[in-house]
Symmetry: C2
Subunit: 338 residues, 2 copies
């Protein structure tokens, strides 16, 4: 077994200082000439240098670790709660979380990722429905920075936390069927976002297993994934003739409650509404929202714990940790009128 | 006029490299001996070295600027919207915002501040009701990092964005008096937080100017500054005999709506409720919340624009930018029953 290559070895071969090599390899090479940077990168590849996480961490920022948290939108209550879970663990373990909210903009997501790398971040939690493992690895370059995926599409591998969206859809369907509903619609976002697709699949399966008609071409309604989107969909919901609506997330459901109220449609007397997520607001809207609970805070806690485990021991196996979902029955669902 | 002292001069006198001086002065000195660090700091003071913002920025991180945003609690909708405003300007100007949520913990606030400094952040937006200008300057050390204060107590100076809390309190009082209320209470948080105190002063002044009794010892109710806190205060509100409640912020008001509903007290028929902030949720609760509008998003935009101005020109004068407040009348306030 050969001796592990260090930045000292690279510095010697390149005839530059150890600091220069360290800075160049850590993305802080702007003040060096292009030829110096090129030389260092070439030697790194030639000599098959593998950065040592602890060494890099010590050189770049002292003993406090930082983790980057990349989320789609900070103003969504879902991600606010997720970040709270991250922060709880971070506080306990004396780690600094840096939160980047990319406004659902793929270009920004990439840019922020590169920023985190150049800031010598120790590990990453990435919640993006768009980025594939390949995109992420590309952005990380040759740096061996551990990352955890969350709320993802299926085009990924790697360590990640997940909830069972298919089962969540099943739970919503079973609840509405148990109440006696026979005509139901699914209100969601018209984007190729796999978790919403899984919710629909689970929902549809239980309906069909119970002999209830469900035609994706007419019984799936689309709107923006926001409270405004849910509100705007109220007319379509009424026009569908459904006695119950399963919403892709709680934000949409809360908007729908408002839209229906403005049309003088009573919930749950005229139409039952069930959401997805169980954000804290559900308790404060009227009627209080029945929903499929995702352990959002626990997901933040879990993702952070797994990441810190990997920071302490890079050789832990990649794994997928699943978090259970369950029904939370409140006031927005009831038996249909007729 | 003497020549400006550079880190080159310090390096020469200290007999260390320019990189060493740069790293030590930028809070990245952990890998150098204590005696080296002490020597560098001593010479900096002796030679009256003033760091050059642009030089530091270029050395430490290339051409992309970063601004640190320190807020009390990310899961409060108020600060979510504020950060959205910050992010909008940051995106337009190609600046990276790093968001730190300190969970209203003074120790964490200090720690995060130090982290930002050691990460060669270019400028700071600080929203904390606790930190004084002195605390901040101490944390920043001798580094000349521009910062903007927001949502602050009065123990501060420096550039800051503000809204007029006293006037906000006046607006709330005038609205309730116009509706005919004669017995009103103020529900807020029992902490020495000056902006809530100002709201109370404005409220109380208008009541007294209109010959309406208001006794701070009985007509100010206290609870936690949260939806849960507002909900818990519902009993006290009913016991007070008031026909209208002015809440310190919308979160409390939204919680109070829920608490009153559970006690079968009708809003606004039995009791009128007015909040403060105008968070987006106000439209989605029932009844929709009447409130005093703060331009939260604009405050985020304004704070960021002022900060970036100062980054581009350090000699701009310190200033206080005031943002107006106004009444937003919705459904939670009405004439008293009798």
């Amino acid at each position: 077994m050969g001796k592990k290559v260090t930045i000292r070895d690279i510095a010697k071969r390149a005839n530059v200082s150890v600091t220069t090599v360290s800075q160049v390899l850590n993305g802080k090479g702007n003040r060096f000439s292009k030829s110096t940077c090129d030389k260092v990168f070439k030697l790194r590849d030639e000599m098959q240098y593998v950065p040592d996480f602890h060494a890099r961490s010590l050189i770049m920022q002292g003993s406090v670790s930082t983790i980057g948290v990349l989320i789609p939108d900070l103003s969504e209550p879902f991600f606010g709660t997720f970040v709270e879970g991250v922060q709880k663990v971070a506080r306990e373990q004396n780690v600094i979380p840096l939160v980047f909210s990319a406004n659902r903009d793929p270009k920004l997501e990439k840019e922020y990722l590169q920023q985190m790398v150049s800031r010598a971040i120790d590990g990453l939690i990435i919640a993006s429905a768009r980025m594939t493992t390949d995109t992420i690895k590309q952005a990380l370059g040759n740096l061996d920075i551990p990352f955890i995926l969350f709320d993802r599409n299926n085009a990924q591998e790697g360590t990640r936390v997940q909830t069972d969206d298919f089962h969540g859809g099943q739970i919503a369907a079973q609840h509405l069927i148990d109440l006696g509903h026979k005509k139901m619609v699914y209100l969601s976002v018209d984007k190729d976002t796999e978790n919403f697709q899984h919710r629909l699949s689970g929902f549809e399966k239980v309906l069909k297993d119970n002999g209830i008609n469900f035609d994706e071409s007419t019984d799936v309604l689309y709107s923006e994934l926001s409270r405004e989107g849910g509100e705007a969909a109220a007319k379509d919901v009424v026009a569908s003739g459904a006695t119950a609506v399963f919403c892709g997330n709680d934000d949409m459901a809360i908007g729908l409650l408002k839209g229906l109220r403005e049309l003088d449609v009573r919930v749950p007397e005229d139409i039952s509404v069930i959401g997805y997520d169980d954000i804290s607001l559900d308790e404060y809207v009227y009627p209080r929202l029945t929903t499929v609970h995702q352990p959002i805070y626990d997901l933040g806690v879990g993702a952070t714990e797994i990441l810190l485990d990997r920071l302490n021991d890079k050789d832990v196996d990649e794994k997928v940790e699943k978090f259970p979902v369950h029904l939370v029955e409140r006031e927005s669902t009831a038996r249909p009128a007729k």
